[in-house]
């Protein structure tokens, strides 16, 4: 694609990408660095971007790969491992059903729980629930098959629900 069209096509994604970057890094200045790097890389590689393919997925992919190689990204990967988490059982929650329902819809508790999720699960929840990307787009961004997207997403939701409904259990787990 002609780089002349880049601004016109990529700037509408600016806010979304920034939000995603901020959630990933948890910090404004890191998020700005990440978004800036993403736009610079995308502009540089825009000639190889084919018209008709998914620009949104392409940009998220660049951002995500930049994040993984950044300082905060590398740190996040060290503290979370998909394989270790995968086999852990979930503790039963001990709150009343009414309180649980309230917690699940309370933004503060959801945000806390989301921030506490291991990076890979936080990432896929953000891509699916917040950025509303399709399974196919997520598969492109994460470089994994759609089947892996589905299973990782299911696992992430389970962990998130557990973290929301039973913050104490989460504290204990860590």
């Amino acid at each position: 694609m002609d780089p002349a069209f880049f601004e016109q096509m990529a700037m509408p994604l600016f806010d979304q990408l920034y939000n995603f970057a901020h959630w990933l890094t948890g910090d404004r200045s890191d998020a700005e660095d990440l978004v800036q790097e993403t736009f610079a890389k995308a502009l540089k590689g825009f000639r190889s971007f084919e018209d008709g393919t998914n620009l949104r997925a392409w940009m998220y992919r660049i951002l995500r790969n930049s994040y993984l190689t950044s300082k905060s990204g590398l740190a996040a990967q060290k503290t979370s491992s998909l394989e270790d988490d995968e086999e852990q059982g979930l503790t039963a929650n001990s709150m009343s059903p009414e309180a649980l329902l309230l917690r699940q819809e309370s933004y503060a508790s959801v945000a806390d729980a989301l921030e506490a999720l291991p990076a890979a699960y936080r990432e896929i929840i953000l891509l699916c629930e917040v950025e509303e990307l399709s399974y196919r787009e997520m598969a492109q961004i994460l470089s994994v098959p759609i089947g892996t997207v589905m299973s990782r997403l299911a696992r992430a939701r389970k962990l998130l629900r557990q973290a929301i409904t039973d913050p104490v259990a989460r504290e204990v787990e860590q």
């Binding site: 002609d2 780089p3 002349a4 880049f6 601004e7 990529a10 700037m11 600016f14 806010d15 920034y18 939000n19 901020h22 959630w23 404004r28 998020a31 700005e32 978004v35 800036q36 736009f39 610079a40 502009l43 329902l101 699940q104 819809e105 309370s106 933004y107 508790s109 959801v110 945000a111 989301l114 929840i125 953000l126 699916c128 629930e129 917040v130 399709s134 399974y135 589905m150 299973s151 997403l153 299911a154 939701r157 998130l160 629900r161 929301i164």
Partner: protein
């Protein structure tokens, strides 16, 4: 009754990833399955809880302008090129056409001259007047062409006159002399010079056309061509003889 639906299908339904047919099938199932309905409700609740995470973090205007100017500055140059390159290409194409037309015009008289030479040699009767005598050949053209020219004395040179014939070039009648030089046959063409003929000739006097060496020059409203497969120097020599005879 045990529910056959797996969690991934329920999630895919919530995420809008099922085909319309599969979604319709699942919806029918949900009407009768409390377990699956509860799971869908749980996913929906989580989605509502997460909805506030959308746009939770907004970039500052300052940062937006910074990134925008970065990608805009780099955009400026290719943008200019994008506008200019078709214009340049078009101009180049027009220029090429003009040059080509001019050069093809400049050589088309020569290719006809070469054709006349080849036609004469290929003919069973290459000459209309067969004579080695210039005093026979010259008068033969009288009344056939609207001009007169001198045939040089070939005695003592490597050239010998074979004869002459009437030709037409650009609808103008002219004379063709066939001159032999060892095994080579060289044509001398004499025509009335015209602006049209001059325009369709190259600027250079000695040129090659279809591997023939051609020498051409104007002289007193006449236009001379010497064309043959002999060496350029030999063609030039015959041209000089003709030029001297028609000063």
């Amino acid at each position: 009754m045990t529910c056959q639906q797996d969690h991934l299908t329920l999630a895919a339904y919530m995420d809008g990833e099922l085909t319309p047919e599969r979604a319709a099938t699942l919806e029918r199932h949900l009407q009768g399955c409390a377990g699956c309905s509860a799971e869908i409700a749980g996913l929906a609740r989580m989605r509502r809880g997460l909805s506030a995470a959308k746009g939770r973090y907004a970039p500052s205007d300052e940062f937006r302008r910074k990134v925008q100017s970065q990608i805009a500055v780099k955009k400026a140059r290719p943008n200019v090129m994008r506008f200019w390159s078709p214009a340049i290409a078009l101009a180049a194409a027009i220029l090429l056409c003009v040059v080509w037309l001019r050069s093809s015009n400049r050589t088309d008289a020569l290719s006809e001259v070469a054709d006349l030479h080849v036609t004469a040699l290929a003919s069973a009767n290459p000459v209309d007047v067969v004579s080695t005598d210039r005093h026979t050949v010259k008068p033969w053209f009288q009344g056939k062409i609207p001009f007169s020219f001198n045939v040089p004395e070939f005695g003592g040179t490597e050239f010998s006159l074979l004869g002459g014939r009437l030709i037409y070039l650009h609808q103008q009648p002219g004379a063709q002399l066939i001159v032999a030089m060892r095994q080579h046959k060289i044509s001398v063409l004499i025509l009335q010079d015209s602006a049209q003929l001059a325009r369709s000739l190259p600027r250079s006097n000695a040129v090659q056309q279809l591997a023939f060496n051609i020498s051409t020059w104007p002289s007193h409203q006449l236009r001379f061509f010497v064309v043959g497969d002999a060496e350029p120097a030999e063609v030039e020599k015959l041209a000089e003889l003709m030029e001297r005879a028609n000063p």
